[in-house]
């Protein structure tokens, strides 16, 4: 239990001034501008936006600057700012088929309509440090452009899943007919309850911690709830955001945002109600967060065991475990609160341990008194299952 303490204002004030000085660093080195962070730390900005669940590259860059590059802290800053904003609208669903595609790859199909476009990626690099980047003042090389391929700028690029869907080989994803009147569950308004529906899970995963989801996704690949995935398609680019303002009654574009979408295709041998076909895991992130989108798609698929009649044996399939621990602000807050004063709490435990030791020395047999900490590790189902 955390008990409020008073005092220490002067020390706290001095500590914050030290943080500001440390953040600025050597005054002989020019300070970073928010515009520089936004442009040159793009993946950090994208991660802060995705997990901060607020798309605003300028604010995400500012948060990174203020947090001295601490991504989790920057995410917290953006989340805190978000709570001050009135919700003015909910968008129409973004149409990723009409994305202005900057990157689009499929590991399942070599020749897919629209082609494979690598775009800006670290894939196929040698992961050797580039010392040329350490030399300042060099002119940057302009990216080459291919001649206009004649495609109309708004021509849709078919999704791989839709192509497979044409043959009925993959489970369909169709919007319900009555969706206009159906509410969309929103974690920012209603607390998480279990079992959670897929829309809630996807929202939680989209704002979930990349590291946590990545490890869970990795665990499914290593056999803990394996789903035999193929990266059916990954695409990155800009989509238009449309809202329907109350005073207009029709959709209007408010701007474009960068998103990253991943469609995982997974083996499925069929169930009582469904024929053998490929199933899907879906990942979508605000900003270019490819690793996160892939992890999200794998975990989304693992969490669908109930509807697909699969045995739930692994952590990645445990909805409550996954969703309750995926949020970096909650996780970071609860772990880090341990460093705040717990003096009263600790005094009580100290007193308890002294009494137990006294009793042991006096040879009195006893059961653990009430209130003793229960720190014994719980057996997981994985450990007890042969």
């Amino acid at each position: 239990m955390y008990v409020a303490v008073k005092g220490g204002e002067a020390a706290i004030d001095a500590a914050h001034r030290q943080m500001a000085a440390a953040r600025r660093g050597d005054p002989a080195v020019p300070p970073l501008t928010v515009a520089q962070i936004r442009a040159q730390m793009g993946f950090a900005v994208a991660r802060v936006m995705a997990e901060g669940a607020l798309y605003d590259p300028d604010l995400a860059a500012l948060a990174l600057k203020q947090a001295w590059g601490d991504v989790a802290e920057a995410i917290f800053l953006l989340r805190a700012y978000r709570t001050t904003l009135p919700r003015l609208a909910a968008s129409e669903p973004v149409d990723t088929a009409h994305m202005v595609v900057r990157r689009r790859v499929s590991a399942a199909f070599k020749d897919l309509p629209g082609g494979q476009v690598l775009g800006p990626t670290f894939d196929y690099t040698h992961r050797l440090l580039d010392f040329a980047l350490a030399a300042e003042g060099q002119a940057s090389e302009a990216a080459p452009a291919a001649p206009d391929d004649g495609r109309a700028p708004d021509a849709p690029m078919p999704r791989v899943a839709d192509i497979l869907g044409g043959e009925g080989l993959i489970e369909p994803e169709t919007a319900p007919a009555d969706e206009a009147t159906a509410p969309v569950p929103d974690l920012t308004r209603d607390p998480l309850t279990y079992p959670a529906d897929r829309a809630t899970r996807l929202q939680a995963l989209a704002r979930g911690d990349e590291g946590f989801l990545l490890s869970l996704a990795y665990s499914t690949q290593r056999g803990h709830g394996g789903t035999h995935p193929f990266a059916g398609e990954i695409r990155v680019g800009e989509v238009a955001v449309e809202i329907v303002p109350e005073d207009l009654g029709f959709p209007v574009v408010i701007g474009d945002i960068t998103v990253c979408e991943c469609q995982m295709i997974n083996q499925f041998t069929g169930s009582r109600t469904a024929p053998p076909q490929f199933t899907r895991g879906y990942g979508l992130t605000l900003g270019y967060n490819e690793r996160k989108a892939m992890a999200m798609a794998l975990v989304d698929r693992a969490l669908r065991h109930r509807e697909l009649d699969e045995a739930a044996t692994a952590p990645a399939q445990d909805e409550e475990f996954v969703l309750s621990h995926a949020d970096v602000v909650e996780a970071s807050g609860f772990v880090q609160h341990l460093k705040l004063p717990h003096y009263v709490d600790f005094q009580a435990e100290l007193d308890l341990v002294r009494r137990l030791r006294r009793a042991a020395a006096e040879g009195v047999s006893h059961d653990a008194p009430e209130g003793a900490p229960e720190d014994a590790p719980h057996n997981t189902s994985a450990e007890t299952t042969p």
């Binding site: 929202q203 408010i254 701007g255 879906y282």
Partner: protein
Amino acid sequence: MTLSPHDEPAAPMAMATATRQRWMAALARAPRARLEAAWAALADPPAVTLLRPPEIGSAMVRGRTGGTGPRFNLGEVTLTRCSVSLPAVGGAPLIGHGYVAGRDRRHAELAACFDALLQDPARHATLDATLVTPLTEAQAAARRQAQAAASASRVDFFTLVRGE
């Protein structure tokens, strides 16, 4: 009304809506400086009454499961809105709305002002030719350029047949 911007307008009313959607999208995507310059270039700028002063908030961005399935909430985007009233033309005042992603109050205000002006039959043709069409074309050109840049990294993967 659930008109998607990709649908072809059919009725004259839908046509009017599609026209307004086109200019509102162009204004929302425009650089603020471009709108500021266009406002400064007006020979007879009208008096602007703020019905709803620029307000910063958010819009919840939605996606679809698998791209085509049920909706889910992805995360929010900052959004600034503004509503203005311009002096009456033919009896009714011109009401304009600006809805612009981001936190630029002036951009939302200018978008609202031009949304109102573009409803004025006397000004529409000129503004459309000097502002909306050039903006729409520039935005389409930027999209084409982005795609052309991406196309430079278009690949052909060859699979090698093994064991023959």
